[in-house]
Amino acid sequence: MAAAEFDIPELKDDIEIPKLREGVMAHAKTFPAGQPVQDFMGYPHELGEDWKERAIDKMGDLLGKYRSLKVFMDACVHCGACTDKCHYYLGTSDPKNMPVARQDLMRQVYRRYFTTAGKLFPKLVGAKDLTKDILNDWYSYYYQCSECRRCSVYCPYGIDTAEITMAGREILNHVGMGQKYSNEILSKVHKIGNNLGLPGPALEDTLEGLEEDIEADTGVAVKLPLDVKGAEVLLVTPSADFFSEPHVESLIGYAKVFHAAGISWTLSTHASEAGNFGLFNGNYESMRKVAMRIRDAALELGVKRIVVGECGHAWRVAYSFWNTLTGIGYGGNDPFSIELQKQLDPTYPQPQHICELTNDLIKSGKIKVDPSLNDDLVVTYHDSCNVARASRMGTEPGGQFIIPRELIKSVVNNFHDMADETIGESTFCCGGGGGLLTDDLMEVRVKGAMPRATALNNVVKEHQVNFMAMICAICKAQFTKVLPKYGFNMSMVGGVHQLVSKAIKLD
């Protein structure tokens, strides 16, 4: 189905704060999940008669389980600090895409049903009964949030709209309004092992094909092993790396790094997916179930290390949540986590990001690179939101900004950062994260990419940048699709290990 026509924002010299245009994005509705998917996920597929009770009950349940939600519902003072921080607001000018207004879609209902003031004086405090109109607003606007956390950097109380969006989507799931894209992906990962529904034999074929390509290209027999018991490293990477362009170039890069460093490694059919869409829905158990595949694979294969490929939200889940969800990490004192942790090699961080691994290998001289092989490129780096604001690399705060840049600078000679207020902790989301990377949300995706496209445009004009490196499968897929609408060539988009792959010396 073709998406509706819409205007592509014009790129200006600066990212301007637009005047409000109420309701201009109310029509954006992601496709709803059908009955088979909702059934599989254990959710209803349509609003039942008791939808309102179900919604309020679920909200109460989440308020009791997540301190973040409870505190964030109460603490906002409507100061306005976040109002100009969301890329979707900047790109669409719809006021309900301002973080505080997005939160208020839920807060108005919270106040009505869960607070004294809202029960006694609803009009005064902006409290509202839950209606189908409000539910429809939730469905529109909780799927115009990529859960990128940029607003949480600027909020004086650290209110993270992502937490509220996640809760909102979970309540919608529970009343029968699931999203087709995310819930189909979740059911695929549960049934088959990856988000793309790529079965084991197909994966094996793909990897063999890649091995032939690399050998034809370099003359070196670089392997991409699958399900090898006793390998040192289990690499868990987004399934897009197996066949999407430019993702696959980074997969080739990882393989070359392991080969050059002489590290035995393996991929896993069972855990052939780093991505975890459970994160986006605010359902702990669903996220845990997806993450458990990695634990199972690690125990099954007996690996000593777990390394994660280029994927933003996957790295958030891996770095921040895997230890909690599955025991992949250190410091566990319960039988569940000890079972795995005693198997892992304590001399390495667990899990480890592929950039941490490669950067260490280059710095310690264990692999050799020739940056002049990338001299045709002038490179900039897009900090992916989940890596930037929800994870770390290395031992120091901010390592998630330093390590990828160190790595890039060791394999290319020409590097220029984009404007400070658009990178690091202030980075702009690609516009396609958090479950929005679907064609039915193309307008939201294109408009939401405007801030990043503006910052990129400036370094293109000033420094002739012709390559934007990144470490996220969603960012890569989003930018290759969306940047051409702003007049950029899609070949400008690629992974950090795509650069490593070109510069690395194999012998």
Partner: protein, 246 residues
């Protein structure tokens, strides 16, 4: 000596307001602290040690660091208001202590003029609610009224400090009397009665309003968590039960 009706009403009002403030806020703090934070969600880059988190929190509480990054106008007005309010509150301690603590005496002259800073800050915040379209859009009636209430408290207080003084000795006797359960007569100027009634109202609505941002900040997981998820296993009680099924 018989006490006037007004004195009795105000005495009762302050006992009730204090009770509601303490119980209401106490309940909220208890409720926040018993609700688990099942996942590590600090907004990164985040400190990797507890001391680091204390430093981060101190910068948020004292300097409004995140707000400073966000918007210099809100920061200037917000910080003037809160810092002014702090000095004003500290100055008011002299009405509740006998003898007056020595450092309250030092704060006293600053506290008097801090009220001006406080009211200017609030006027700036109120102006933004009318003038900035984004802030106007998100403002509810209570957002305006809260500022109006605080400004009215500030102005009525300033009126007594700088223009029509009340019988401050008698006022102090009234509050010390409340504290020692020996109610004394309250001076009955209109300005004072308005000032005190508004303060009592503020105390009552504190635990059921957005003023909960004050305790809320300390419980905000994005600010108060240590960034060490790889090194330490963080599991909430309700989530730990899932591990046992495996």
């Amino acid at each position: 000596m018989g006490l006037s009706t007004v004195t009795m009403i105000y005495a009762g009002m302050f006992y009730l307001a204090t009770f509601l403030l303490v119980v209401g806020l106490g309940y909220k703090i208890f409720d926040y602290s018993r609700t688990p934070a099942p996942l590590k969600i600090p907004t990164t880059p985040a400190p990797t040690t507890r001391q680091g988190v204390t430093y981060r929190m101190a910068k948020e509480v004292v300097l409004f660091e995140s707000l400073f990054k966000a918007n210099k106008w809100i920061w200037v007005f917000g910080w003037m208001f809160h810092f002014g309010l702090l000095l004003v509150l500290l100055r008011h301690l002299r009405y509740f202590t006998e003898p007056v603590w020595f450092w309250v005496g030092i704060v006293q002259p600053f506290g008097k003029y801090a009220s001006i800073m406080m009211v200017i800050g609030m006027a700036g915040l109120l102006a933004r609610r009318f003038l900035v379209d984004r802030v106007r859009y998100i403002s509810t009636p209570s957002d305006y009224l809260m500022l109006v209430l605080l400004i009215a408290i500030g102005l009525s207080g300033m009126l007594m400090t700088f223009v029509v003084h009340t019988d401050i000795v008698a006022l102090k006797a009234f509050f010390l009397g409340l504290m020692y359960l020996d109610v004394q007569p309250l001076p009955q100027d209109l300005t004072l009665l308005v000032h005190l009634a508004l303060v009592a109202l503020l105390m009552v609505i504190f635990p059921i309003s957005k003023l909960l941002h004050a305790p809320g900040l300390f419980f905000s997981p994005t600010r108060n968590q240590v960034d060490n998820p790889r090194e330490h296993r963080h599991v909430a009680a309700w989530a730990a039960r899932l591990d046992q099924k495996n």
